[in-house]
Assembly symmetry: C2
Homo-oligomer: 168 residues x 2
């Protein structure tokens, strides 16, 4: 069973957290919610889903986790200004551990310069960002490239979750 | 006196619209509010400032305007998925007309591939996007490069507005 770090902040896309989280829990995997401030409660953008941050990213060690989930919404825009959050995500990519990114999630990987030479997808507003970041952008419900699993939007969640579970 | 197109959608950063708008009006310039749907009311992210869209971007002709203002917040993330909005902004850059972009505004210019070879600044979350887009990123309150005036955040508004007014 895997220990999955969820890196998350306010205005995350609710379903892009709740649906993978439910599926990972059902599969017997453990989720640890990591954010900018331990103890803070962060909220979803549309439904106001509340998530308690269990560990500050400045204190979290990537070695303690088997995989990383990056839900979308405007959460990645907040996280990518934090050097610790960027380095945290970067380490999973460098260590070739499973990284699951949906929607705007790829923004965090762009700031980490972790998409160069990779195949990826993401929300349509960031297509040009993904291309400029040196990735091959694919308009598919799920793109699997080694350790990296990416999807475009909530409509892709069934395919995204299935691909993620296979990596855990 | 100049006719300034303001391209704007929901969740714009209130002050990045209200303060330039007030200064442009005071200077005798005309503002036309352009968005995704004529007649729609779009709202600011923090203060709920309401802006009525006077013209749909699909109907708007860049030739009718002397300059373009792109306020930040999450408005540019919405606008950059719309091909007409992207082409509208692109045309001002191609025609060398004044373009004023603050905060996340540069995202629209990135999708328009209009930052290649330019000097620019923007909100810290998009620094790597700006660099990958082929621009030289400068951490300054205002960056002037030919027709293009860019700033980082609301704290830069006095310098931004001063630089914009000089171009009108």
């Amino acid at each position: 069973m895997a220990k999955v770090a969820v890196i998350i902040d306010d205005m995350f896309e609710d379903s892009e957290y709740t649906q993978p989280a439910e599926a990972f829990n059902k599969g017997g995997h453990q989720l640890v919610h990591i954010g900018l401030k331990e103890g803070a409660e962060v909220k979803g953008k549309k439904e106001g889903t509340s998530v308690k941050i269990e560990k500050s990213v400045s204190e979290a060690n990537p070695r303690d986790y088997d995989a990383l989930l990056i839900p979308g919404g405007y959460s990645p825009d907040h996280l990518r200004v934090d050097k610790d959050a960027v380095n945290f995500a970067k380490k999973f990519m460098e260590d070739n551990k499973p990284v699951f990114s949906i929607c705007h999630g790829a923004q965090l990987l762009i700031t980490a310069k972790a998409l160069e030479g990779r195949k990826a997808t993401g929300w349509k507003s960031i297509i040009q960002d993904i291309k400029y970041a040196g990735a091959e952008y694919l308009d598919k419900e799920v793109v699997e490239d080694g350790n990296l699993v990416t999807s475009r939007h909530p409509g892709d969640l069934p395919a995204f979750i299935e691909a993620c579970l296979k990596k855990l």
